[in-house]
């Protein structure tokens, strides 16, 4: 019995001793932890598996919320804005194309009007020139006719005058011849003298 008691006592002492040693080691370990791990942090917080369910739960909630916000509001809005913008740009480009075409048309119309005006002006000038030409021709013809008439009249008068002068010359010549004959003492018939003078005038002249 005594032996047994002693044995148990000894065992108890031994156990106490090892406990004490363990406690000392734990304390040392804790001190070391406190020295380079901080008061509450033990090792890496990333490997503290007791917080994993918490993190995973809130992460899944977060992801679902962000997904819903994006799918319901964010993405349709942004894609609508982008589509609207590309539509606006296309429309603006088409409008610009249209305006450019209109400007080109206006320019073509202007060119055409200019050409028309030019040809018209040329027409008018040509017509006027032709009119003036006919007027001039008419006036020239009239003047020619007048001149011809005048010159014919003049010729007739000249011929008359010539004829008159010839007759006068013949008369004078006959008279002179008769007087000469008379003065020379001859006598001659008037018909002979005049015949001789006229033949002389016609042949001799």
């Amino acid at each position: 019995m005594e032996h047994e008691e002693e044995a148990t006592e000894a065992a108890g002492h031994a156990a106490e001793a090892t406990d004490a040693a363990h406690g000392a080691a734990d304390a040392a370990h804790g001190a070391a932890d406190a020295a380079h791990g901080g008061a509450e942090a033990v090792g890496m917080p990333q490997l503290d598996f007791s917080t994993f369910p918490n993190q995973i739960f809130w992460l899944v909630v977060t992801l679902i919320l962000i997904y819903l916000v994006l799918v319901r509001i964010g993405l349709p809005r942004v894609s609508a804005v982008l589509a609207e913008r590309s539509g606006t740009i296309t429309n603006d480009l088409a409008a610009a194309e249209d305006l450019k075409r209109q400007a080109e048309e206006a320019e073509a119309a202007y060119e055409k009007a200019l050409a028309d005006a030019r040809t018209q002006a040329q027409d008018i000038a040509a017509k006027t020139r032709a009119e003036i030409q006919t007027d001039i021709d008419e006036a020239i013809a009239r003047a020619d006719a007048q001149i011809a008439e005048k010159s014919k009249e003049s010729e007739a008068r000249i011929a008359e005058i010539e004829a008159g002068a010839m007759q006068s010359v013949e008369e004078v010549a006959r008279d002179v011849a008769a007087e000469i004959v008379k003065a020379l003492g001859g006598s001659a018939k008037a018909d002979d003298v005049s015949g001789a003078v006229s033949s002389r005038l016609r042949g001799g002249a």
Binding site: A41, G43, Q46, P53, L59, T62, V71, G74, R85
Partner: protein, 266 residues
Amino acid sequence: MVAYILVALAVLMFVLALTGTENPGLAIHPMDQFVVKPLFGDGPIHWYTPTNVTLWLGLAILAVIALMVMGTRGRAVIPSRGQSIAELAYGFIRKMVEDVAGRDALPYFPYIFTVFLFIVMSNFLGLIPTSFATTSHIAVTAVLALAVFLSVTILGFVKNGAGFLSLFWVSSAPLALRPILAVIELISYFVRPVSHSIRLGGNIMAGHAVLKVFAGFAGALGLASIAPIFGILAIYGLELLVAFIQAYVFTILTCVYLRDALHPHH
């Protein structure tokens, strides 16, 4: 603008480093910032407990709503600044899905856009000083990556039936090599979600831890803390870049996996 804000933050940090006396000596706790705490009280964390994770996830939702709903409220043909950003993000991801995964992947565009916006907003929100970076937690990125992995695998079998397995049977290789290649392809296929999630979480965690380490230096050095503060400034700029690039990479890898599911014959 951003440069002014950064310089102002640096000055603020310098003043804090000089005046702060609560943590004398080199006591750096780079992982403290990632601890998940209940928002109210100090009880145990059940799956429904509102924690700081909940708060910053909710702020990410608000940021997405601010960009995609408030920003596009005008529906203007000539967009405002916010609407331009929303349209830019929309066009960016839509073009990515179309170019990388093909036109027949467009029905899945809303989910890809959701993932991209969530990651980008969380990354940037996490960069606000004293904030909590939700995307630095493996639990969060693993759920994102596993969702992509599972849905892409199921989609591959639904669309192609057993033909989806030809993804692992490299028909352009010599016949003797094909079984070995199939094993390698199979392993790399199952490693995808691991690298997909750890890339994002690790990048964000590493950046924040480095910032914290430098902040610890600044707190310990007194007047000389100006040097680590400029280090923080430079790393903060890098982290802004990383925050966007990691979201971009996560999204483009999602598109690549989706293309494999839709067109497994390569």
